[in-house]
Amino acid sequence: MQFLGFLVNGISLGSVYAIIALGYTMVYGIAKMLNFAHGDVIMVGGYVISTCMTSMGMNPLLSVLVGMVACTILGITVERVAYKPLREAPSLAVLITAIGVSYLLQNAALLIFGSATKSFNSVVGVKPITLFDGALTITGEALVTIVVGVVVMIGLTLFVNRTKMGHAMLAVSEDKGAAQLMGIDVNATISLTFAIGSGLAAVAGALLCSSYPSLSPTTGAMPGIKAFVAAVFGGIGSIPGAMLGGILLGIIENLSKAYISTQLSDAIVFGVLIVVLLVKPTGLLGKKISEKV
């Protein structure tokens, strides 16, 4: 019974990782860049939602919507200002720029919101449920996180496979030049990808801060890194890979905390990553791309 509890919490944590990892993996798939500022967009989303709820007294759902809009605008702005001018630059330059944006966001938050950790009021109003005569309690946050995670995954898969814009995204990720020749607006597609990724980051921020209710300018840093690991674990560039990677990572982290050591859980998580990459260098669901000569 206890095992079930650990498992549910692991899946819940994993769902958050998966939602963040989707942002990493989509941007990588299309723009071929690692957007290290993604974790900090989560933090910005958390602060916007928290400010809406506590200072303006808005209702939680509306606050999350405002957070999503704010993050979407932020994501598109960052892309236009920092990444677009570097589209033809070496990938290293873009990577360094992304790290720069990450620090810019963190320090801007430090300046605006201060360094003190804030407590975050949960956006989830669902009561915890008790199963097996009280042997197992699942918090409302865990339930909602898992449900939202599943909805996001299904929605995104449908969007990519069934809509015109989704097809455009697939085309751009396969071959930018050919896509442009076929009449696809590459820049608009890349912006759309950033918009979706950043909007999802706000959702992830709301869920993350509701389950683990603290908010500081570095809140997004560690989950961002873990989600990046999840994206690589599942095969970076692959949407189902990010979902699988995220959920597996959450489960491994929680079970190793529960049964091996609370101190070593991170070491175990990253150890598993190394082993997987040694066996399958492209990640669990990654495609092997042979370079054309």
Partner: protein, 395 residues
Amino acid sequence: MKKILCLVLALAMVFSLVACGSDSTTTDDTAAAGDTASESTAEGAEVLKIGGVGPLTGAAAQYGNAVKNGAEIAVEEINALGGLQIELNFQDDEGDSEKSINAYNNLKDWGMQLLFGPVTTNPAIAVASEAQNDGYFMLTGTASSESVIETGDKIFRLCFADPEQGVAIADYIAENMADATIGVLYDSSDAYSSGIREAFETEAAAKGLNVVDTEAFTADNKSDFTTQLQLFQSNGVDLLVCPFYYSEISLVMTQADKMGYDLTFFGADGMDGILTVPDFDATLAEGAYLMTPFSASSADEATQSFTAKYQEKYGETPSQFAADGYDCIYAIYQAAVDGGFTSDMTYDQVAELMVSQFTSMTVTGLTGEMTWLESGAVSKLPQAYVITDGVYAAA
């Protein structure tokens, strides 16, 4: 054209960030670095120049500002008495060792006669060896690591050491709640937390306490405590010893509450501040115990007057750090008066005077009655408090 557009967008981004947060913007006007608290000094009176160092900005800013604010109140009170005048020059070190040394060097140029600070442990260790070599007397109000005062014979401390708290927590539990099933949660990546935990477990074993489970977390993994809490719950823990800082404790409390897990918390002095975490439901902290040398709600007359002055001047309730700062200035003042300090003394003469006074005098301050050993350690005992109706009550 493109560049102009980029610039406009960049500005728009910065502005939108500002706009998002304008409601909760905290302006910290006390954070100005290097301002002096020198008051108009009486003609002909002896003047003691004290150099202060601590973080006024950065992550540990609330500690540094509290110490500085507390010290300034003491300086005002003493200068108003009309006898020995104190000039305090408090420099910002951002909690960083290198910047702390720079601040110390600035203060030397300014002509300080003794050093008060640094506030946080790592800068204190760095500056202590400089001060000892140069021959300055140094009194830190808050750096609790043993290695600070081990640097030399001129380095003194006003707060108790980390292990003493662990021992005190174990002793208190043994006396008052010996039947408790105890769990320990600590930050294994932090010397403060690990130090208290080690001392607690040794003392708990000696007292035969029922410690059933010890779990850890690290600085990189300090948001999700559900697994640790589930383990405690399945082991039947009803008293959780949590020697780490208040921001993490507030998280543990919220997560335990969400799980519907009812248990008693027992923290160290790092838990002081729990009632003022923004947006934290402070009722969750009801009934929690903590160790601290100072409680703003104490009925003691000196504490009441200090708290009132502090609230009037800075608009918040003083923490133990503010009280430590206040006590430091009074301890220095008492030593200077008793030792016959005169303005023309050089810093090494002041150091000699201070060392001989500190090792022989007894000071009664807000944080208790204090005497000092030659090692620079203070003998003062941590006091257990329980949070009742949103204030600390002696337990």
